[in-house]
Symmetry: C2
Subunit: 307 residues, 2 copies
């Protein structure tokens, strides 16, 4: 990367966005963050923070036009735990994302990396899922991300920018919303409360959120085009994850595995083929799963008790 590249990060206050800021500063980017709310206290020095609602087309255009960033890392989307799969708010984010990339190209942008999802794939296809595996999103969220990718990929070609699309699989780590799996169990264990879970025999591909962020930054800094899986490449049962957390907390007694019903249509396995990320982008995760889970549990223990 040449010295003075200016990057705009969207969703900068989010779970993935927040840790990308440190990684981008470390790589020497001039970092501009955009979010709807003001900057968290721990944002690294030198990051310029812009409070803009990207769904407001006029405000978005004004920001993109005045900033003239060379790089775009677009992570913002509607992400309310549970609800996002079918939320009406997906549609405005399709529109805003297409507008954002179009305006970025018009403003002289060179390189964009956007957040996609494993929900673009046909989950019944053979595992692990490489980037050219069949696409058949089963959810509104997945359909919206898939359609967005189709447009921005073609837009990059006519607009003369380089574009990559990081497909996030499953993630965990500090700051996660406690309505999500790992956070719900880690929070309960840290608080000494019972932690009910499903039988958890489904295999998933989990990556620590700092590694997800690091992978996005590495992808942005590379010249790899198209879709790249952002994942560990290693399937693990959900049951194994909650058991590791409980072991780590020394409180296996708090775990109620099987207390919650499994979803009948939940796929047996969703695992990424990570050869593109490893070999073409050159990214290797920093966290092994046991270490990442232990760190996540410590983070929850360090939080002031709200209840």
């Amino acid at each position: 990367m040449t010295g003075a590249a200016r990057v705009l990060v969207t969703g900068a206050s989010g779970l993935v966005g927040r840790p990308t800021l440190n990684a981008l500063v470390e790589r020497g980017y001039e970092v501009h963050a955009v979010a709807r709310r003001s900057a968290p206290a721990d944002v690294p020095d030198g990051v310029a923070w812009h409070i803009v609602d990207l769904l407001d087309a006029g405000a978005r255009r004004a920001l993109i036009g005045s900033l003239r960033a060379s790089h775009l890392l677009h992570l913002a989307w509607h992400a309310e735990p549970g609800a996002f799969w079918t939320a009406r708010e997906n549609a405005p984010w399709v529109a805003a994302t297409i507008g954002l990339v179009d305006e970025f190209a018009t403003a002289g942008g060179a390189r964009a990396t956007l957040a996609g999802t494993c929900a673009e794939y046909d989950w019944s296809a053979s595992q692990p899922l490489a980037e050219d595996a069949p696409l058949a999103p089963a959810t509104y969220y997945g359909i919206c991300k898939d359609a967005t990718r189709r447009v921005v990929k073609a837009l990059a070609a006519v607009g003369g920018i380089s574009l990559s699309w990081g497909r996030i699989f499953f993630l965990y780590g500090p700051r996660e919303d406690p309505r999500r799996l790992v956070a719900s169990v880690a929070r309960a264990l840290a608080a000494g409360e019972r932690a009910p879970t499903s039988a958890g025999m489904q295999r998933r591909d989990f990556l620590h959120v700092d590694d997800v962020a690091g992978a996005f930054v590495a992808l942005l800094a590379s010249d790899v085009a198209g879709a790249v899986n952002i994942a560990s490449g290693t399937p693990v049962t959900v049951r194994s994850i909650v058991e590791q957390l409980a072991e780590c907390a020394g409180r296996r007694d708090l775990l109620d595995v099987g207390a919650l019903a499994s979803r009948p249509d939940d796929p047996d396995e969703i695992t990424a083929d990570v050869r593109r990320l490893r070999d073409e982008v050159g990214f290797a995760p920093a966290f092994a799963l046991p270490e990442g889970l232990a760190q996540t549990l410590r983070w929850w223990r360090d939080q002031p008790r709200v209840l």
Copy 2:
């Protein structure tokens, strides 16, 4: 249809939009037309005309929110002859179309019909192309229309509206832009000028613009969901079309068939399977091709000479 259904027609001043107005008034709809420019002189009585740029999200939302239409016929898109295949303006129309359908559903809309294109299909697939033929748009325009359909189809499900998508093949008729094939030849013949064309051996599916409009209105008034080809179902060579026009004008001498180069990547045949339109929607075209071409030629003869 129940008596007082209120329809909003977008692209109302366009080639297809204009003749839909008469068909909608005849069917008893309360018709609201929206376009960027003021109403043409020949708009039928009773049509309410709204001058709004649908790419302006605020103005669009205000219109949809105040109108509270039960029906939406969305035909507007960037359509500059020749240029539209790769025009940057396709992206804003993806965003505007998704916004429009989302806002229509929120405002209590019940039934939407949108304009798609044969450019969504894999043109190398076996002919004729039924609605479930493989999709592999080769152009930016086709990619944008295909992605839009993916989103609005899913949006209709979560938003609780009935949605259909009319895939336009090739059209001709009065008022066509003279940069387009049939209009360029008809105009030249009507003016007594030479008409250079390519060899024209490619087979295409042509439908008169009044029938395209009639098919869209019939589709809107039906409860057929999903994609429906809007076409004749009959392939005809481009050469045959220009020869019929020249015969009709009594000026075969003006035709220079083969004077223009053929595009090397032009598919041999693009023809629709029209069983859904005929059997499910119940639509039959009014114009046979020879009659439609003769009427188009007469229209050009009746135009005041500009040059």
